[in-house]
Symmetry: C2
Subunit: 337 residues, 2 copies
């Protein structure tokens, strides 16, 4: 690249845009489909139903312990596909850059995207790059969309929860949210805090193959955290959920950060964890399958679905009390992902 910062010209669709795409993106995550640079990518006819998802990423800061906006965007979209049981097939990556952003920063993000897609064994088939004048965006926003193939017989939906089903979480909660908010707080402590951003499709596949029919639904508790996702499951299934606070895995450093910052880890975003609703007779099997994988080593059964007040989620606190959990409200935690 001739320039060391991004210019408006890089978003104008002409020579500078072409240079940015070929030198920064194609070198790092190019492939024959993306390199065609036509108006759409053409993919082979898929071997099943299609899962389709999109998410925007506006995280601040864009680099943080455990990841960056690039890996976060890839993992987030891979995980949204995985939560419906889909095998990720192809992603699109659309950037909005602020004029003046160092090209070096874009290279770092593109390298991180390349690593994350290689790790998740998914290719990028489509992309776009826009540049807005200085002060009209904040550094970089990324929107990823994803396509996956849902194997025949896989039917996952939060509506499928039944009384008696167990609620599992695949690992410790609050890591991503606590890390971002600590970074932004200006506090200097951060020892051991790191985002959990990671792809979950291999964990999901090992469960779907190893315990066929066991799982009713997966959800990844990103924005809104575990509490909000549990409320959504209870609401959509028309059932009640009780969770046991003492059984919810949480790292001591996340618990400390929450105490200092006055945050509830149940409402903090996770970026490499899932909640699974599992039929009761298979809950231990699924927990075992989670434990067998590095990303699920701290998985735990944390609660149960039951008849009761539709949509209600009750937390049995570590002190033995009961507390109703409601969806996140009035606690804006912006730019967490």
């Amino acid at each position: 690249m001739r320039d060391d910062v991004i210019l408006l010209d890089h978003g104008s669709g002409g020579l500078a845009s072409a240079e940015l795409i070929s030198q920064i993106f194609l070198t790092r995550y190019g492939n024959p489909v993306l390199a065609e640079l036509e108006d759409s990518a053409i993919l082979d006819r898929p071997a099943g139903r299609i899962a389709f998802t999109t998410d925007g990423y506006v995280v601040d800061p864009i680099f943080f312990p455990g990841g960056d906006i690039g890996s976060l965007a890839v993992h987030g979209t891979v995980n949204d596909l995985a939560m419906r049981g889909a095998v990720p097939l192809s992603l699109s990556v659309s950037f909005i850059f602020e004029e003046g952003l160092p090209v070096r920063t874009i290279e770092q993000i593109a390298s991180s995207i390349a690593q994350a897609t290689a790790r998740a064994r998914v290719s990028i088939s489509a992309g776009d790059t826009k540049v807005v004048p200085r002060g009209k965006a904040d550094k970089v926003f990324i929107t990823t969309s994803g396509l996956g193939v849902v194997p025949d017989g896989v039917e996952l939906s939060t509506k499928r929860a039944r009384p008696g089903d167990r609620i599992l979480v695949s690992g410790t909660i609050g890591d991503h949210g606590a890390t971002i908010l600590t970074q932004r707080s200006g506090l200097t402590f951060s020892g051991g805090l790191a985002s959990d951003t990671a792809p979950l499709h291999d964990l999901v596949r090992s469960i779907l193959e190893g315990a066929t029919g066991a799982v009713r639904a997966f959800r990844d508790p990103t924005r809104g955290g575990v509490a909000t996702v549990l409320c959504e499951i209870a609401s959509r299934s028309g059932l009640e959920i009780e969770v046991d606070e003492a059984s919810i895995p949480i790292r001591p450093e996340v618990a400390s950060a929450c105490e200092i910052l006055g945050l509830d880890p149940l409402y903090l975003a996770n970026e490499g964890k899932c909640i699974a609703v599992v039929s009761p007779d298979m809950a231990k099997d699924v927990e075992g399958l989670m434990h067998a994988r590095p990303e699920g080593q701290e998985a735990a059964v944390i609660g149960e679905v039951r008849d009761g007040r539709p949509g209600r989620v009750i937390l049995r606190t570590a002190a033995g009390g009961l507390r109703v959990l409601r969806p996140l409200s009035g606690m804006p935690l912006p730019r967490i992902c």
Copy 2:
């Protein structure tokens, strides 16, 4: 909605986000797939190869004569699918809002998206909403992705251009770019200027069905304009293109705006036009099929592909001279789409 402006809470993934989605978006462009509100939408197994595309929209102003950022985003993605011969199947819509944006504005954009998708007979299956603090974005950015199905036998690619092929444009050029730049210039003249934003998939389908095998490639000359697209076709096919300036349709008001603003209409964005590369014996048929549709009434044959210097595009000017056209460079026209 309880609030009349967008708040950070609307992007936090909790109750306020759910209210925004259900009251503003689902009421306007909801459908059973979108209303599931799961992590991914599940679509039936498609009946052919898949076309996949993405684009970010950062246009300024967000409302302009002939359209707005919402209709522009829908048409842009529909057209990127259509350019590969795909029948649009499903779109995703991801918003980034600036805190403080009036909810009324979002309602207008959502209504416009609903109208554009209904007109294009395509559904929205996935979406996302983020909110960033005041001053960290400019009102609203939209990223749309699209899925389409490519009928068997349809093989369109700019690499397929052959010597002798004719170059057609489906209508007048520069309308969108001239409209946006005039709006932004602070000039008060604008009589008759309007964006050409429109879906092109019906035009494409009527050509593919009415003149099977005639078209080598379609491209929509958005950012970079007709000149940049012609350079891309010449470059990828390894051939030379000559175009005849006098045959290129342009509205008098666009020509006037270009003169006043010092712009070349060949480099201005179009949002409802396509360039077609057509085998010579079928060029008149394709022109006739374009003329038969309202969006192609001013279609014209404007040039020819030939052996020559690979990648070169020559304009035969109205005055009879020759001018080499190069891809857009050094003329940043930001936030045009």
